[in-house]
Point group: C2
DNA sequence: GCAGTTACTGCAAACGCTTACAATATTTTT
DNA sequence: AAAAATATTGTAAGCGTTTGCAGTAACTGC
């Protein structure tokens, strides 16, 4: 025997603890209520103009009364679009990436996309896993950030049916659309400026030289400035370290020992560690040591003395990358593949007057 | 006439620019290749044991050869599960929330959930929109963070069929599962300690008193300590401000003018602003002013002098919240609804020896 | 070697929506 | 007022899975 309980009875039977929440209405319920077909409801939901105004109103009314919300999953399956994009990034707790993310998020929202976020700690294996997972979730696009575009990652991306834009991430092969500042230029400028100030030994502190962004961009700009005044790169003035406060603290004495009187640092966390080491060892900045950092996050304002920095429009890099992605998802063409946003040098207290 | 092109011809026809990437294989392709039914393939994919080993192997082989990856969207529709959770938070660029997020993310990943991230800037309207959007995307659970659980937000959550856990967010009504430190206790302790040091005027700098977390927790702990030594709260020593560096800089002189000789601050960004104001006005810390902050982010280590802080296990709060959510999504019971993780007071340079 | 179990496997109906295409209304034209 | 054109609506076939049920194959024990 089949027993059918009405909702009220059911509620009583189940008791208070397990209140049966109202089942979400489906498009079918709406259609029934109004006495039209699914297709019509679907049309008004999707803003298709081929619906008589009077019908549209009735449908809208029913939608409101039923509290109907289209099921995005079903929609995704039927339309092959998820209105979701994926972000693959090293680490949200890094302010630099967090600000890029914020830019991406805001623009994504503006275009009604949701954002799936994955932290991969710059591990290529996890990058690939993340991308695959995003693919299976049928995201409409992906924004990739990170120090380096690993071979495996590139292969994975190439095999993808989904548009990808790099943000704050350099593509040595110039194939993928990307948004960055002109790193070569930025590092060239600041190096040249410090050289003009008469520094003999300008140290460069960056990430691993295995990464294109360090080798082919930061170091390249630095080298260019040196060469221009007829000098060679002195390897003793080159330092590499991850974005880690403690580890950098250990690196600091070596940098000091190198005899550098100025240093250019690729990341604020690293720069602050260096700064604090110097501060704690009673160095005079900028008197004994000039210091320029590179990402201009809050850290450079908060530290004392405040850090002179290459300022990247972080939020904008994210925002522009996302904007480009919307175009790609829309099958529009991109005017530029490798967008370079303008950077500035913000003069604060760890350098003398720059020029 | 129907013309069927093989892939090669098609590739030529379409030209290089628009290379047709290999269509993703479906479960159907796998089944065909092996000569079994969809159901069987589905079973092996889902680890159902009712499959003969030999069959399983054949299927696995085909999956590998075809590079088959189950379509998560279709899966979601059929199974009503998305293996995705949502995070609703104020702002990723705030280090406090970023670290919570990282904790959530890591645990989510461990359980093979993906994470949909929304920034709402603590705006209740956007909170509600975000939650609705997540619901339509059929997330299996939601983690909510923020200063305050607005009425409207609560109503939305109550109407949800999806489990929600609060992280670093207090529920005045104690209904929703949450993870926090014991704010009352923490603020009580630190206030008591400063009072023992002989301070007459201890300022409290927090967020809006409209928010339960400030009114019923931070202020409550502070009040309790005062009352315990037979004193009343002096409203002139109470300050409220958002987590904003610049705005706090404007607040700073007022705090100084209040005659406070010690202050307790609810957020690191705010604390650093205050600290820098004092530093820039040649105050001696902790000599003329003792300062305790509350979130123990990188800022408190990076600033000079380093900030004494109430230390929250931020990453763990996120991680535990996510762990609780997995249980709820699994219909398991929670041992505790309102989890309180232990906090500590980290003594640094802006206070004298604490006790 | 046969009934009774148990282990596998397949069938087919969902899941909630989009979207060609077909069908019907309505308006316009002549 | 009929034909033609256009606007509106409905039908039904997917989208790629999961899963209850039923059927078949493979073992058990006697």
């Amino acid at each position: 025997m089949l027993i059918i309980l009405d909702e009220e009875t059911l509620l009583k039977a189940v008791g208070d603890r397990n209140v049966v929440k109202k089942q979400n209405a489906t498009i079918y319920d709406v259609a029934n209520r109004v006495g039209v077909s699914l297709a019509t409801v679907s049309r008004v939901v999707n803003g298709n103009k081929n619906v008589r105004d009077s019908t549209k109103e009735k449908v809208l009314k029913a939608i409101d009364e039923l509290g109907y919300q289209p099921n995005a999953v079903a929609r995704g399956l039927a339309s092959k679009k998820s209105t979701t994009i994926g972000i693959v990034m090293p680490d949200v707790t890094n302010l630099y990436y967090a600000e890029l993310t914020r830019g991406i998020n805001d623009v994504a929202n503006m275009y009604h996309y949701d954002v799936l976020l994955t932290n991969t700690d710059d591990d290529p294996v996890r990058d690939v896993l993340a991308i695959n997972s995003l693919e299976s979730k049928q995201v409409d696009g992906i924004i990739f950030m990170g120090n380096e575009l690993d071979q495996g990652v590139r292969k994975t991306i190439d095999a993808l049916n989904i548009p990808v834009v790099l943000a704050g991430c350099v593509d040595a092969q110039q194939k993928l659309p990307s948004v960055n500042i002109d790193y070569i230029d930025a590092f060239y400028e600041i190096t040249a400026s410090l050289l003009r100030h008469g520094h003999e030994n300008v140290a460069l502190v960056m990430g691993s030289l295995d990464e294109a962004i360090n080798r082919d961009y930061r170091l390249a700009g630095y080298t260019k400035a040196l060469n221009e005044v007829g000098r060679q790169v002195d390897e003793k003035l080159l330092f590499t370290t991850g974005r880690d406060y403690q580890k950098t603290l250990e690196l600091a004495p070596k940098v000091v020992a190198s005899g550098a009187t100025a240093m250019i640092v690729y990341d604020d966390v690293v720069a602050v560690a260096l700064l604090n080491y110097l501060h704690d060892h009673h160095f005079d900045l900028p008197g004994q040591m000039e210091l320029v950092t590179s990402n201009d996050t809050n850290y450079s304002i908060i530290s004392r003395p405040q850090l002179t920095s290459i300022a990247q429009p972080k939020y904008d890099i994210g925002a522009v990358a996302m904007r480009m992605l919307t175009k790609l998802m829309n099958n529009e063409d991109l005017k530029e593949q490798a967008v370079k946003l303008p950077h500035t040098i913000v003069q604060r207290q760890t350098t003398h007057e720059l020029n």
